[in-house]
Symmetry: C2
Subunit: 385 residues, 2 copies
C-alpha cells in the first residue's frame, strides 16, 4: 500500500449561494485545491454529495464536475453516505491512490441545499434515516437527535445548559474563519433564550445547513519532492464502520459504536493513542453528537462528554480542541461537503494556517464524519511530517 | 498493488419485483454471492445505485444494506455514476482490496424502478444527462440516443434494419438465462414491426428497465488457496474515463472517446489486445450503443459496428460474442445494477457456468458499463487462471 499525501486544499464559504450553480460551487473549491497543490491536472475526480438528484435534478456528478473543471476524460464518480459522504469520498480517493490505480485524485464534497426546487430539505434529509422504520413515522433528523439527547440527559443527569459550551466554542472559533457561515460569538444567555426546534434541541444546538464545497488533492507520498515551504501532510489513517440506520435497532442508542470501531482502527493504523491527537474535527451536527463523539473516541468517559466542554478543554488552547474552525455548528453543514470541510480544516491546522484559532504545535489531527444518527462513521488521522 | 480475485457471484431475476423491497432485492443478490464465495462475512459493502433517493425515498444504502444482510459494523457506502454505477462500484471494491485497506468486499448493484412512488422514471433517468443543457430542453435518454443513431445512419449509410441483428442475438441468448427479463426470441420481421419510441429507435432497439440486483465478492488473490473445483477468476484490468455529459459538447458524437480511453488503459493493464478477448459484455442500452462500443474498443472499424452483427460474429460462437446472457436489451437494465450483472455474467462464462450460451474455452472476458450517453465508461477485464 502506497502512503498518501494531501498537497492541496480549497473551499467556498458556507452560505446561501443563490448566484452559483452546483457545478460552479464544486468547481470553485476544486480549482482552489488544484491551485493550492501546484498541479494542473488530476487523474480522478471523486465527488461527495447527498441530494443533488432531488435538490438540483442532477446526478452523475463525477463526469459532470470533471468536465466543468477542465478534467474531461479523467475518471469520475460520486459517493454517497448521507452526511458522511464527504469523508467517504476522501477515503475512496485515499484507497484509489494507495492501490496504485490512480496517481492523483481530487476529492470534492459539494451540496447546494438552499434553492432546492422542492424546498423539502427536511424530507430529503430523512432519506438518510430508515425510510420504513423511521422516516415513514415522521421522524426528522432533529427529532431523532432530540430523542437521543433527552435520553442522555436522563441517564447521566446533565441539564440542558450543560451543552451550551459546545456551541459557544464553535461560534467563538468561526469568528476567525472567513469560510464559515456565522461570524457572531454566542453567550450562555443567548443559548438559553434560543428558540426550541425539537425539545431539548434548540436553534443553538443544531448546525445550520447551507451551500458549500470543499476539496483536497491527493497523491502518493513518494511523489512529493520539494518542500514548498509548508509542512507536508500525510494520511496516517483511514477507517470506516457502519451501525444500524434505525436507532431503535441499536444495542445502545447512547454509544456511537461505529465511531468506536472506526476510531480504534484509525488509532491502530497510525500507531497512536487518543492522547497524541492534537485536534479533533468531530461531527457536531447537534451538540449531543459532539458529546457522544468525544466519548466513543476515547477523549471522555461514558456520559462525561459535556464535562470536557465545561472544563474548557475543547477550545484551541485546551486538551482536545474541537470545531476549531467553527465545526458543523458555526461553519455550517452542507451535508455532502461537510466531511471534506473537516479534512481541509485539519490540513490548515497542520500547516499552521488556521488564522485566529491555530492550535499550537499541531502535528496530528483527526477528522470524523458521521452519516445518519451514527450509522456510518468515517475517521481520518492526518499528520504533518 | 495486490491482485484481486472474484470468488463469489449472485443475482436476482430482472423483472417487476412488486413483492420485494429495495433492501430485500439487494440482500438476495448479496447473500447469494456470499454463499457462492464460501465466506460468511465481508469487511466492506459497496452499493451501486442511481435513483433510490427519489424512487424509494431511501439513501445511505451502504449502512442500510450492510445491516440488512447481517454485516452491521462493516464499512459501507454507495457509489453513483448514473447507468455505470454498477461498474463504478466494482472498480471501487477492486481498489479498496488492492490498496490493502480492505481484505474482503461485497460489491452489489441494485435498482428498484418499477414501483417508484413518483412514477417519473423518465425524468429521474434524465438526471444523468446535463440538467441545464439537455434535460431542461426536454431531451430524454431515448431521444438523445435517437439523435446519435440518426446521425450514425446518415454518416455511414446504414439502414434501420441493419441494427436488428444486435437485438436478435441478445434475445436469443436471454432464452437460456433464467435471470433475464425476457425469454422470447425475436425475428427480423418482429423487429421491423416493433413500435417506434423515438425515431429511429423502436421498442426492440431499447433495453427494458426493471428491478434487480447483482453482486460479487472480492478478496486479494493471494488469499485464495484451495481450488474449489471451479476456475479462479482474477481482475486483470480495471479502468475508467469520462467525457462531457452533454453530447453537443463532444468533439465527435459518434465516437465513444471514454470507451476508447478506458478500453486502451484496460488492455495495457492486462497486457492484452482486443484479439485476445473471448467475450465482451458491452452496454447495449440501445442498439446504436452496441455498435459504437464495438468500434471504440477495437473490434470493428469506425462506422462498421453493424457489419460484425450482420456477419454473425457477435453470437456465442462468433469472433467476439456480446450480450451472451441477454445484455441490457434482453436481460434487462436496472440501471444501478447493470454493471454488476455484466461482471456476474463474465464470471459465469469464465467458470464455464453459462448454460446454453457458453463461449467455448472462454478464458478472458471484458465488461464495459456506460453512464449517460457515453459520458462515463468503465472497463474491466477478468481472466480465468
Amino acid at each position: 500500500m502506497r502512503e498518501v499525501a494531501v498537497i492541496g486544499i480549497g473551499q467556498t464559504r458556507v452560505e446561501e449561494q443563490w448566484e452559483k450553480s452546483l457545478r460552479e460551487l464544486a468547481g470553485d473549491a476544486a480549482l482552489a485545491a488544484l491551485h493550492n497543490s501546484g498541479l494542473d491536472r488530476v487523474h480522478a475526480v471523486y465527488v461527495g454529495n447527498m441530494m443533488s438528484g432531488s435538490a438540483n435534478l442532477q446526478q452523475h456528478l463525477g463526469a459532470y464536475i470533471a468536465d466543468w473543471i477542465g478534467m474531461r476524460y479523467a475518471e469520475g464518480l460520486r459517493i454517497e453516505a448521507a452526511c458522511s459522504s464527504g469523508a467517504a469520498t476522501f477515503r475512496s480517493a485515499v484507497m484509489a491512490v494507495a492501490s496504485g490505480q490512480v496517481d492523483s485524485a481530487l476529492a470534492v464534497g459539494v451540496e447546494k441545499m438552499t434553492d432546492s426546487p422542492s424546498a423539502e430539505i427536511t424530507a430529503e434529509l430523512a432519506t438518510a434515516a430508515d425510510a420504513d422504520w423511521e422516516a415513514a413515522q415522521g421522524l426528522s433528523f432533529v427529532a431523532l437527535n432530540a430523542l437521543i439527547m433527552r435520553r442522555y440527559m436522563y441517564e447521566y443527569g446533565w441539564k440542558k445548559e450543560d451543552f451550551a459550551a459546545f456551541s459557544i466554542n464553535a461560534h467563538a472559533n468561526a469568528v476567525h474563519n472567513s469560510f464559515a457561515r456565522f461570524h457572531e460569538p454566542i453567550t450562555l444567555e443567548g443559548y438559553q433564550k434560543a428558540g426550541m426546534v425539537a425539545d431539548p434541541i434548540n436553534l443553538l444546538d443544531a448546525s445550520a445547513i447551507g451551500d458549500g464545497a470543499a476539496a483536497a488533492i491527493l497523491v502518493p507520498l513518494e511523489y512529493v519532492q520539494a518542500n514548498r515551504g509548508i509542512p507536508l501532510v500525510k494520511v496516517a489513517a483511514s477507517a470506516a464502520a457502519t451501525d444500524s440506520i434505525a436507532i431503535d435497532q441499536r444495542h445502545d442508542p447512547l454509544w456511537l459504536k461505529a465511531a468506536e470501531i472506526s476510531g480504534k482502527k484509525a488509532y491502530a493504523q497510525a500507531g497512536l493513542s487518543p492522547q497524541e491527537i492534537d485536534l479533533f474535527e468531530l461531527h457536531d451536527a447537534f451538540s449531543i453528537m459532539a458529546a457522544l463523539s468525544l466519548e466513543a473516541n476515547g477523549f471522555a468517559e461514558r456520559g462525561q462528554g459535556p464535562r470536557l466542554a465545561n472544563d474548557g478543554e475543547i477550545t484551541p488552547a485546551g486538551r482536545i480542541p474541537i470545531a476549531t474552525r467553527g465545526g458543523l455548528k458555526a461553519r455550517g453543514h452542507p451535508v455532502g461537503a461537510t466531511g471534506m470541510y473537516q479534512i481541509v480544516e485539519v490540513v490548515q491546522q497542520l500547516r499552521g494556517e488556521a488564522t485566529g484559532t491555530q492550535v499550537e504545535n499541531a502535528r496530528i489531527g483527526m477528522a470524523q464524519n458521521i452519516g445518519g444518527s451514527g450509522s456510518n462513521i468515517i475517521t481520518h488521522i492526518l499528520q504533518a511530517i
